[in-house]
Amino acid sequence: MMNIIRVNKLSAAALLFIAMLLFMGLTASWLSPYDPFFTNLEQKLLPPSFSHPFGTDYLGRDLLSRVIHGIGDSVFPVFVVLSIVMLIGLFVGTLSAFWGNKLDMLLMSVTDIFTALPSVLLTIVVVGFLGFGMENVYFAVILSWWAKYVRLIRGLIHDVKKEPYIMASRVSGSFGMRTMIRHMIPNIAPQIGTILILDVSKVILTLSGLSFLGIGAQPPSPEWGVMLLDGKNYLQVAPWMGFFPGLMIFLTACSFQIVGERLRKGK
């Protein structure tokens, strides 16, 4: 991580932004100046000012507080979703690459089906079946993403399996799971990590996109996609309502992308 900072100012800025974002997300309840759900119709649609740096929305809620609280609803779930996807990928990918030809064929056919389906379409269909709501969206996103990670990790393990040090580790007494944990995973972890970080921005965009379509998080949640949807209706009267959530989505996605690219090219 220290190398990245030295290499490039842009990626240093991106890293700083991510760190600040995470910090603010964790301390949202102390940091935000107002209650994000407190409505005050007397102060509705105020432009940015000292007391309300990001302005207020059509119910008079403080936008800055909502954006800060939104981190918890927009960014943190991405990590949960990706961790689950990665764990599934690691488990199924290992199973597929390590044991059994028939199982491998079966699993690959299943992942083929999932990768062939357009992920947005799949998500909308799943949410359509299960009903609106954030939990269902997470489930749908996991469903449309897991296959990619299974294939990725299976491929990486297949490559690393041919390495001479895996053969040598057998002679030193490592078998099965032990070889997997001690010798294979540490050698493929950097690649997986890089792709995970690159995918953070994609999942952020997917999740807030779905909320913007109205099938993800529901009002009054301060999720950024929902706020953007609210802002859309007041674009001419109060452009700041859409501007700030949109900016946050943009900056966050960019930052993760920049850091990910750096990691991929670096080393």
């Binding site: 040090y165 580790s169 002679v171 007494g173 010798h183 050698n187």
Partner: protein
């Protein structure tokens, strides 16, 4: 005692090894000499149970090759260890050298953390590596250091037989000789049995008592190293191998005689 009996290996119907027989007594040493494509590396992998033979058997102290079960494999590997050619990266690049060397100790012994540490330092010292290297990844080691580390890793669990598969092939002459001398001193000290696989006949004298020459997966002949120059008895292929090296030595012998006198 290692016994290799009628060992054959076919890959896709093509014979790689056919009818290989030899015996290495306890404390004995055998060099397997052959050019590329002679099947000598496949032979090493068969003895290490990294590949399954098509037919024939390998016995070590009356026990046959492990086929199933981690326990039987571990028993086999606690007796027989191998050092591979150093162009192949056989140390895990994601581990420090310390953890690489600790690996066999964790898997084969019940030593405590402290005892493991002492053992690693002892063997590091034996192969002539500095302890500062322990915290580095294997990628930081030079070619010679890498092979010494591999040797330490193989010897650290005190095997009875050591297989060396082209362990000096890509090293410079000075490092080659140092490695060979190291191997000789360890072999003498331990009474270790040695199976030394190489393409270079000139490495063998002094190191191994017997030579087995291989060509195209077949055994050409096996003889005592002292009988290498006995041209009436040797196979035509062995003589070709010998002459290939000797033909380049003519000028050397003409000039370098001074060298022997001056440097002793």
């Amino acid at each position: 005692m290692l016994q290799v009996q009628r060992l054959c290996k076919e890959i896709n119907g093509r014979p790689i090894l056919s009818d290989i027989n030899f015996v290495i007594e306890d404390g004995g040493s055998l060099a397997i000499v052959g050019e590329s494509g002679s099947g000598k590396s496949t032979l090493a992998q068969l003895i290490m149970a990294l590949k399954q033979p098509t037919s024939g058997q390998v016995l070590f102290n009356e026990r046959s090759l492990p086929r199933k079960g981690i326990k039987s494999y571990k028993e086999w590997y606690s007796d027989i260890q191998i050092v591979f050619q150093n162009t192949a990266s056989t140390l895990n690049p994601a581990m420090s050298l310390y953890r690489c060397l600790e690996e066999p100790l964790i898997n084969f012994t019940n030593l405590k953390r402290r005892e493991r540490r002492d053992k690693i330092l002892e063997y590091l010292n034996k192969v002539g590596l500095h302890r500062d290297l322990l915290k580095h990844r294997p990628g930081k080691l030079s070619g010679g250091q890498y092979q010494r580390a591999c040797l330490a890793k193989a010897l650290i669990i005190s095997p009875k037989l050591l297989i060396c598969d082209e362990i000096v092939a890509s090293l410079d002459i000075v490092l080659q000789q140092q490695m060979i001398e190291l191997l000789m001193s360890i072999q003498k000290e331990r009474g270790l049995s040695l199976l030394f696989i190489t393409h270079d006949l000139s490495l063998v004298p002094g190191l191994c008592a017997d030579i087995l020459v291989m060509k195209d997966g077949k055994k050409v002949e096996q003889f005592n190293t002292s009988a290498l120059h006995n041209e009436e008895e040797r196979d035509i292929y062995t003589i070709t191998l010998l002459k290939s090296t000797e033909s380049l030595e003519t000028t050397w012998k003409q000039y370098a005689t001074h060298d022997n006198k001056s440097t002793g």
